[in-house]
């Protein structure tokens, strides 16, 4: 993966969608609530892009604005280089979206729901069979939507998006309420779609799911951009890698490791947490074991302690855990974005 940001004009040419200074407020009884505040979003073409933020941070509002469902107060948006919502009709056939929960007519069968959508866009009815088969619902197509489990509803919604054979798929919290098997299934589906050359934008507050599947991420809080870039770059901001070792005498082991040029510190339950010393480059677990073994200290356990997206997310959004609210004071300044988004998946 590239490690530095390409020039802006080059980035824009490769973007599936972008927003600039996007702002949206809602009127409430307590005043105007800022949902999205000057958001700059850059989603590269191809791959899976995680769109992360606490509940109420403006993810769904941003997606709705991109899809023309709600109007921004100010700012610009583009999808496949076309300004939206002005030219949304020109690109809508390239976008498949599920906003929040799957929304179909509960009394209609799954097939009838998809037939209506297919009729609206002029897709042949044979396409309905294809997409139902693709998501594994061919056998249940004649069942009413209301009889579906949450996982099946989610799959039907994905089938709906596939009717258009889109280049960009937008999934808003797609795994809400799903069991582990359902989550795994959706994750595999998203990865498969990205590997087939499509761009997948997935908004979520479940970090593990995004970390496992996303190539790039954007993190927002209170409607503002907090960080964006490749997952690895974002993770690098969460702290240095460390290994936790369990040895018979942690104090002696710490002395040995310090002498060997590591930065040890006491870990939980009689373990030692070992990091690379400042300026020493990446931590090598083999060097840690070698340093201890040469002094006849043998490990009972070695566990990598890598920063994960959840830690980064929590540190970035610690002041936003309640999501967007009525703004009385200016929010903290956003962190500078990491290296810009890059094409890391297939072509669209």
């Amino acid at each position: 993966m590239p490690t530095s940001a390409p020039p802006r004009h080059a980035r824009d040419a490769e973007l599936a969608l972008s927003t600039t200074s996007l702002r949206k407020t809602y009127r409430t009884r307590k005043g105007r609530r800022v949902a999205v505040e000057g958001l700059d979003l850059h989603v590269p073409r191809g791959g899976v892009h995680g769109f992360l933020g606490p509940n109420g941070s403006g993810k769904t509002t941003t997606i709705r604005m991109l899809l023309g469902l709600i109007k921004p107060d100010s700012g610009t948006m583009t999808v496949f280089d076309q300004p939206v919502p002005e030219r949304l009709p020109q690109v809508v056939d390239r976008i498949g979206a599920i906003v929040e929960a799957p929304k179909f007519f509960p009394a209609f069968t799954a097939r009838r729901n998809l037939e209506l959508l297919a009729a609206a866009i002029g897709a042949p009815s044979s396409r309905v069979d294809q997409v139902l088969t693709e998501v594994g619902l061919a056998e249940r197509g004649k069942d009413r939507f209301r009889s579906y489990s949450l996982g099946m509803k989610q799959r039907l919604a994905i089938a709906g998006t596939l009717l258009k054979d889109p280049d960009l798929l937008i999934f808003d919290e797609p795994t809400n309420g799903l069991d582990p098997a359902g989550i795994h299934e959706i994750r595999e589906t998203m990865r498969g779609l990205a590997d087939a050359g499509r761009t997948v934008l997935v908004s979520s507050h479940i970090l593990n799911e995004v970390q496992q599947v996303a190539d790039t991420v954007t993190i927002i809080g209170r409607g503002r951009l907090l960080a964006e870039g490749d997952v690895s770059e974002i993770l690098a901001r969460g702290g240095t890698e460390a290994v936790r070792v369990r040895v018979p005498d942690p104090a002696v082991a710490a002395q040995v490791l310090a002498a060997a040029g590591f930065a040890p510190e006491p870990g939980p339950s009689g373990t030692v947490l070992v990091r690379a010393a400042a300026g020493a480059g990446r931590l090598d677990a083999a060097e840690v074991t070698r340093a201890l073994a040469t002094r006849e200290i043998y490990l009972a356990e070695l566990v990598w302690q890598r920063p994960d997206l959840e830690e980064v997310f929590l540190s970035l959004t610690s002041e936003d855990h309640l999501g967007a609210g009525v703004q009385h004071a200016p929010p903290p300044p956003p962190l500078p974005p990491a290296a810009g988004p890059h094409r890391s998946g297939g072509q669209s």
Binding site: L69, P89, I95, K103, F105, L117, A120, G160
Partner: protein, 320 residues
Amino acid sequence: MIRLVGAELTRLRSRRLSIVAALVVLAAVALFQLAIHSEVAPSAAAQARGQQAYAQAQKDWQDSHAANVAECVQEGTSQEECESYDPAPSPQDFSAEPTAFADVAGFGLTTAAYLAMFASFLVAASFIGAEYSTGSLANWLTFVPQRLKVFGSKAIAVLLGSALLGAVAVFATLGLTAAQVAHHGGPLVGAGRLAAGSGRAVVLVAVAGLVGYVLALVTRHTVAAIVVPLGYGLVRTVLVAFTADEDAPLAWLPPYLPELNLKAFLEHGTSYTQYREVPGGDYTDIEKHLSFAHSGLYWLTLLVVAVVVGGLVFRRRDVT
């Protein structure tokens, strides 16, 4: 656009409420046919009773006529006028002959039209209300983002569906009534006038559907749309006090009330009364006419306003 209208019509006819509404309207038509059966096909017993009653009335008249007229003349009235006060019984007044088609079908047409209007209002309001309540409207707009196109296609589907329901209701009523009357030897008179009335009824049913659609679209809820005419009904009971008198502050209002225009359009003109105070503190009824042209313009204006307001609201509104 045709594609979208087709999709909307498919949804409209697939909805359970549409099917139930159509069945209820047809059931009402069937009930009406049962109700008028005795009028268009009097039984032999009814005919015998009629003849018996005529004979009795004839006898009573012969027994009392001369005395009645003499008493009348004694009071200062002319002989001719007194004769006219006590005419001989007419066999037609007592016969159980089949009723003329126009007399029976006219009432049926009005009933069918009002019922179909109510049904189409309900179906149309629910048609868009369900989209808001299930959230499927947002999903639909991710496929077709052109708001006015979506609004127009739904409106056209509602108009066509409502017109079809209206046509089925009024033509089934007229057709079955005509068949009954003809079968029992009654005269099929006034069919042309009723056919014109049927056309106007179909137009009104379509307008009722469109009004239901726009109200539900603006209020974003089926029930809220239904509450609007119910609320009007309540307001109307209060309004009577301000419109009944010619000198009342809202005396100018009746020609703009929907129910009067409904009647005027359906019946090709109608009349209403207002009171006028006469010297001496008494009141007299003044009959006023509401023309068909006025009601036609009224409904055309309402249709245009509904379409423009609905379109503007739908175009500007956030859909969540």
